[in-house]
């Protein structure tokens, strides 16, 4: 089996200098992002960072105020049919017609997608344990998410777009969602764009990630590169420090007493000398988890 290399493929979505304001609040600030074809692109950021607004621009639900958005090379606002027909979308709170039965909902959704695969839809329905005769409004939150996932997947979209799909769901449903991500990307050439604040999930399934913080992209690249760039150094000071020691050029420092952990971007060859100057030595050099990298960039560490 061959999986497309994300780095060599053309982009599925290209966003250039996108800025968006709601009133006086700048929600997206000069965002540029390229989602390569094939693979999983993880978008991380805290609540209110601008993730959903970004996704709404990809879907053409919001028009770019300044900057450009291209999906499959098309403008999603000008050509919704050409774009949306190739996207499967699941939002955090799927807005499904509650009065429909599961089987009615599937027939209804099918009408929108020429590529709808009825056999695949039935396989997924059985796998997800959805009763065809049940009304959507009587489904549990987890079943509702599965129904939404089924509708997003059964036309085998070129781009599966998931906005915080795991939010508030139990581990079983989250696993179903992540398996759908993996199945989609294992089908050659398909792409998943996936936003989450659950960094462990993002780390497991993503090839590429972008980190959005207060409307700006603070980090973007292949997960391997990002992990390889960052380091966690454990510093051991000769004497206990009552407040975080000031070290230039680092992302964050946290700890108590004699031991402090420093997160850096880059090799930081000068760090041993700086540490020595402060009366500390480096006792360990480690690769931080994505969660630690994110917290360091978001600047919300508490010492």
């Amino acid at each position: 089996m061959k999986f497309p290399s994300p780095s060599s493929a053309e982009s599925v979505a290209a966003i250039t200098n996108l800025t968006r304001r709601f009133g006086s609040r700048t929600v997206l600030d000069e965002v540029s992002l390229y989602v390569p074809r094939g693979g999983v692109f993880g978008l991380v950021g805290e609540n209110g960072a601008g993730k959903t607004t970004l996704i709404k621009h990809i879907l053409g639900l919001l028009k770019a105020e300044s900057g450009t958005v291209r999906v499959f090379g098309l403008d999603p606002v000008a050509d919704p049919v050409g774009v949306l027909g190739r996207i499967g979308y699941l939002s955090e709170q799927p807005d499904l017609p509650g009065w429909m039965r599961v089987d009615e909902f599937l027939r209804y959704t099918r009408a929108f997608y020429p590529n709808w695969d009825a056999n695949y839809a039935e396989t997924l329905r059985a796998q997800f344990g959805l009763d065809p005769a049940q009304r959507l409004k009587t489904l549990s939150k987890g079943q509702m998410a599965k129904a939404g996932l089924l509708a997003a997947q059964a036309h085998r979209p070129d781009l599966l777009l998931l906005d915080e799909p795991s939010s508030g769901l139990d581990p079983m449903v989250r696993r179903d969602i992540l398996e759908a991500v993996i199945r989609t990307v294992a089908d050659e050439g398909r792409t998943v764009f996936f936003s989450s604040h659950l960094l462990e999930e993002i780390e497991r399934v993503s090839d590429h990630i972008a980190m959005v913080h207060q409307g700006r992209i603070v980090l973007c690249g292949s997960l391997d590169e990002i992990k390889a760039q960052h380091r966690r150094f454990i510093l051991n000071f000769e004497t206990a420090q009552s407040k975080p020691p000031a070290i230039a050029g680092i992302l964050s420092i946290s700890g108590t007493g004699k031991e402090w952990a420093v997160i850096c971007n880059g090799a930081r060859a000068e760090l041993p000398a700086i540490a020595a100057g402060l009366g500390a030595r480096i006792v360990a050099e480690q690769v931080p988890s994505l969660n630690e990298i994110f917290v360091a960039h978001a600047g919300t560490t508490t010492a």
């Binding site: 089996m1 696993r175 294992a186 780390e203 497991r204 480690q286 988890s289 630690e292």
Partner: protein
Amino acid sequence: MQINITSHDGVPIYIQIVNQVKHLAASGRLTPGDELPPIRVLAEQLVVNPNTVARAYLELERTGLVTKRHGSGTYVSETRAPLPQREKIKILASRADALLTEARHLDVDLAEIIKLLRERDELMEKEIRK
């Protein structure tokens, strides 16, 4: 093949897979000729990106532990890889350093570590014979 992935420490997932397959082979739970699950199957089982599994398999193939048979699958090699001795020692040295560091922190002396290694080795030997 049972593998556990954790995201808590920073160890890249493909390296976790590589290390655990090596461990399974070393402890006899994978024997020469055994087939590894297809990439897609293992990816779904572990809930990790298929590219990550593909990369782990490539790495295992590079070290000679597994062999890819064209159009069929990935199998544990019949003959153990001719990994140069120098390379083997290099891999083990970093593991030994980690163990010794931990031991120093815990105030456990070298003699006790050596004793522990013997005991674990005997245990592993028993597992293999079973």
